[in-house]
């Protein structure tokens, strides 16, 4: 075995890991924002918007991510910008848009699970549609759907490895660069798999903790007795 490859190229691999984490965090934040907006559109009855959101979500969800990344990098962004985009920009945009469709479906599921009582109570307090959405329904839906969102973000982190295929030097690609020189693929690949495992498993551990708690902060408040 040639484990020393990892040792000698540790800095390079960590640089790749940093890019992976940057890509993942930017995409997580972006897809959460776009996903919530899309999910609300899909849930709402605002006529053209819900149709557009539904069509967009269904389209994105039925094509492979790699097709979308390559399309964004080679087709869409050059057509819009007029010049090729950087690897980071295009993989970031592709991952954000792709994951936001899945986030939107999760958010819609959360919105649909809200009991009528909450909405009626909010109405009786005189809140208008947008106030109800922003203060009552959305916070409830997001907290309720937290485990599903976290597991979606775990798969986003795994999906960042696909950015290596268009040439972004993130964790997977930096490993490839090393073993293309040394031909000791197994050790490097096992090490990379280990790093991905550590990141994703700790997140899924977190999500399981969220899941096992029987109530979330906002809903707990309803249950605590008022003195």
């Amino acid at each position: 075995m040639f484990w020393s490859d990892i040792f000698y190229n540790f800095d390079f691999l960590m640089k790749g890991l940093l890019i992976t984490l940057e890509l993942a965090s930017v995409s997580i934040i972006g897809s959460l924002i776009i996903g919530v907006i899309l999910g609300v559109f899909r849930y709402s009855r605002l006529f053209p918007l819900n149709i557009i959101a539904t069509a967009f979500i269904e389209l994105i969800r039925s094509i492979p991510l790699i097709l979308f990344i390559v399309f964004v990098h080679f087709g869409l962004l050059p057509a819009i910008l007029g010049s090729p985009a950087s690897f980071f920009q295009s993989s970031c945009i592709a991952l954000t848009i792709f994951t936001s469709a899945y986030v939107a479906e999760i958010i819609r599921g959360g919105l649909k699970s809200i009991e009528m009582g909450n909405i009626d109570a909010a109405k009786s307090l005189g809140l208008n549609y947008f106030q109800r959405l922003a203060y009552i329904i959305l916070p409830l839906a997001i907290t309720r759907m937290m485990p599903a969102l976290v597991s979606q973000f775990i798969s986003l982190i795994k999906d960042t490895s696909l950015a290596s295929t268009i040439g972004l030097i993130e964790l997977t690609r930096s490993g490839e660069i090393i073993y293309e020189r040394t031909y000791h693929e197994l050790e490097i690949l096992l090490f990379i798999a280990f790093i991905y495992f550590i990141i994703c498993y700790s997140l899924s551990f977190l999500s399981r903790n969220l899941e096992s708690k029987s109530c979330y902060p906002i809903e707990c408040r309803e249950l605590t007795p008022i003195n």
Binding site: L65, V70, F71, S164, H184, L186, L189, Y196, Y201
Partner: protein
């Protein structure tokens, strides 16, 4: 100004059909094996042997938290490092079925957990062995409850099968990508690819919906 010209696809039609055939082949074989692996793992996670339970759980957790691309590379490049040279299409089927099998076992487990505890006890009380309880009582019910998420796992498998093009399998995505880059007709080829993948996933969705409708357990409202 870029002008769409779909005539270019006529020339590429034979290779697209070939690619589609490879994608279908890989997807069919992988779904079959993934389902078997998933059922086996779900059964192992329900046995009384704590070692088997632990091994199955560890396997599922391990595979679910590693990107599929890395898994494919491990089978294709990593195994050849220790002297095992498999054809790339076999590597693809292996990695895809092992990966999806872990997800299917997780889905199955949630189905098994949703079945009332009393049914285990009643079946055991009637003298059925653990294996009989699983195969005759629990599994037939669980499989009907989890049809929708199971269908979406098979849809994911079809979409994930596009990644085998990175271990030198000439599947649909490979053909689309090559056509797009060679002729510099990105939009035409990618629109065609998206439509084909949408068709494939749509067919699976329709089949899953039909099965769900015909196999639903009478009197049980299915909540997903």
């Amino acid at each position: 100004m870029y002008e769409l010209d779909f005539n270019i696809l006529y020339n590429a039609l034979p290779s697209i059909i070939n690619g589609l055939r490879v994608t279908l082949l890989i997807s069919l074989f992988s779904s079959f094996f993934a389902f078997i692996i998933g059922v086996l793992l779900a059964f192992l996670r329900n046995t009384e042997f704590s070692a088997a339970r632990f091994a199955a759980t560890a396997y599922v957790e391990l595979v679910r938290n590693i990107p599929l691309l890395i898994l494919l590379y491990l089978f294709y490049k990593g195994l050849s490092n220790i002297g095992i040279n498999l054809p790339s299409i076999i590597c693809g089927i292996l990695a895809l079925s092992l990966y999806t099998g872990a997800f299917i076992s997780e889905v199955l487990r949630s189905g098994i957990n949703s079945i009332a505890r009393e049914q285990f006890e009643a079946a055991r009380g009637l003298g059925l062995s653990r294996r009989q309880t699983f195969s005759l009582v629990i599994f037939p019910q669980a499989i009907r409850i989890i049809l929708p998420p199971l269908g979406s796992q098979f849809i994911n498998l079809i979409k994930n099968s596009s990644l085998v093009s990175f271990i030198a399998v000439t599947d649909l995505f490979y053909v689309i990508y090559k056509g797009a880059v060679d002729d510099f007709r990105i939009f035409e080829f990618f629109i065609a690819g998206a439509i084909i993948y949408m068709g494939l996933t749509g067919i699976v969705a329709v089949i899953s919906n039909l099965l769900e409708y015909y196999l639903k357990i009478p009197g049980r409202t299915i909540k997903v």
